[in-house]
Symmetry: none
Subunit: 196 residues, 4 copies
């Protein structure tokens, strides 16, 4: 969010909140400005259009993704530990950032415009690539089983993550997300690590 002013950040965060709470159809300039407490027209001082706000949301997502990847890369541990960290951190992140969790997996929201849908796909692919890379390195050094493709495992791990978050959201956050994350990690570990 370095590139965004205070007000811009406020607008982006409020927009995410609004989408999370009421869906994209309720993300209107009117609702947005009302919640922030400024006039509708004031929004246009900070973003030239509504599309720009959505692009802002995506840039926030990308930043958070880059941040996590940088952290993982700098970690000097085994692939198993890396995968564990990555999973648990993402569950932890979502559990304290409900609004983002409600929006980040909803590719539907960004279908209005080519630029939006391309960017969200790009973020999604990048996120998956991180997992694939970790798994591949684990396979190379014999920590993870080699008889299944890293790509497929990545589908299963990311897919489960996304699905659990969706359940959590649809259940109106009644599920304990942290606990679910730990259960998922145990399962993944059991299924793919090689015991010696």
């Amino acid at each position: 969010m370095a590139n965004f002013s205070k007000r811009q950040q406020e607008i982006i965060n409020t927009a995410i909140e609004l989408i999370a709470e009421k869906g994209i159809q309720q993300l209107t300039i009117k609702n947005l400005s009302k919640r922030i407490g400024i006039a509708e027209s004031a929004i246009y001082r900070h973003f030239t259009s509504k599309l720009d706000i959505l692009l802002g949301i995506l840039s926030l997502f990308r930043e958070s993704k880059d941040q996590m990847n940088r952290e993982l890369t700098s970690m000097q541990t085994t692939p198993t530990e890396k995968l564990k960290q990555m999973l648990l951190r993402r569950f932890a992140y979502f559990s304290t950032n409900r609004a983002i969790a409600s929006v980040i997996f909803s590719e539907e929201l960004f279908r209005n415009d080519r630029r939006l849908s391309e960017q969200i796909y790009e973020i999604m692919l990048a996120n998956q690539q991180v997992i694939i890379d970790i798994i591949k390195s684990g396979q190379k050094i014999g920590e993870f089983r080699n008889d299944v493709s890293a790509q497929q495992i990545a589908f299963m791990v990311t897919g489960a993550l996304r699905l659990i978050v969706t359940h959590w959201r649809l259940s109106e956050f009644k599920i304990d997300l942290i606990e679910e994350g730990e259960k998922l990690w145990e399962t993944v570990k059991t299924l793919i690590t090689v015991e010696d």
Copy 2:
């Protein structure tokens, strides 16, 4: 679709198409009627409101889910074969029903109304329960490994299915979905079946 008239079925299917192609924001009565080739007001002979059309879509989803479950239940085979069939058939179904594939995993689309969001969650839960049940019965007779919970495996399998379909859609259907389904099944089989 037994309960729906010809025209109602046409409206429901066209609505799914429209959402699939252009997103829910483009599902307007105008676009709908234009594509069907009737006047906007004619739609209201067949559905009392737009909400009613969305409920119609969900009732179609539920019917298709019930149909698949009935088929699976009546199959006299092993859990392994059942799980395989279920997975491959769903991939096959989606690959020939692109529009439905684009809509059925988009819980976001049905957030306008309580009735809608509750129903889509219900369908989602029911679909997952089928997988859980198959896995449990496989675990009971020793076909599937017992050291991981059926629930977690179901998350991974369904999650992967959903994620692959999403990729397929965002890639504008360039991926070969059938092939992807087979790859996923191979992976799942390798990971969870017990070799003797």
Copy 3:
């Protein structure tokens, strides 16, 4: 209603009912046909347009007015008795014909079309003329005081009648209309008859 078929009479009466209950804005072909229990298009077998139905209502009003005048004319009594009869009968009629009472004094309802507004004015004038004539004849033979104009008395009597019926309607028929009619007559008698 001699000129109207059974079905036409049913439509006219139902239209009056609808207006009485929910106001003219709720008098739609849809509501009308629904209440009668036929299809919307069936209405057009019996009336060529909605305007025609409104004209039918007015023709019913006119008939009822003519009927009352004929009765009054044929009565062989004093003007005092005639005025009393006219007043009490109208109150009695309205109290058992709530729907008509709710509509007949609402000139507003018939402003869509010249023909309608002219006819309702005509009926109104004719109704008043009857009272004026009775009062004049009473003045001529010395039963009613002569120091006020018949026209003005007619305004006061008819005005009170209309206003009381309006009150009755707005109070949701909680007032006893018959009793109110008697009170009004007593007052009118006290004010305008000449004691000897």
Copy 4:
């Protein structure tokens, strides 16, 4: 109208005009905005809904009623003079405020909504109560005859007022309303004042 902005007052007055000229069915946002010379959507900056505009009209009526009552209350004269003033002023007011005259007695116009119909009834009752009070005080000091109830006289006076205004309106304002008011007052005076 203190609580309303300039534009809001303009909208309310134009709405009254429109109803007066063409009936409530022609009071549409389109007609309203066209006559004012702004876009349809601009109306919604000033009133949140059409119902709100109608409530605005009623609040204007109430204010005008309160104003008149305040004037009457502060007058230091006999009940006879008060009743005369009240009558003549109302006729004068209507004769220069044709639009309001065309709307204020049309309870039918406000039947769309409970709030509307309750308010118009309330205004009507309040208006009548003023007359009843004047008459009662006149009876107490012997200026008005005591053998008829104040309530009944009020019905007759108010009823006549309303009926004369209705005639004036239906005759397309050809009658001289001021003159009619004077005639009515003469009649009322003759009928109810006690000569000594």
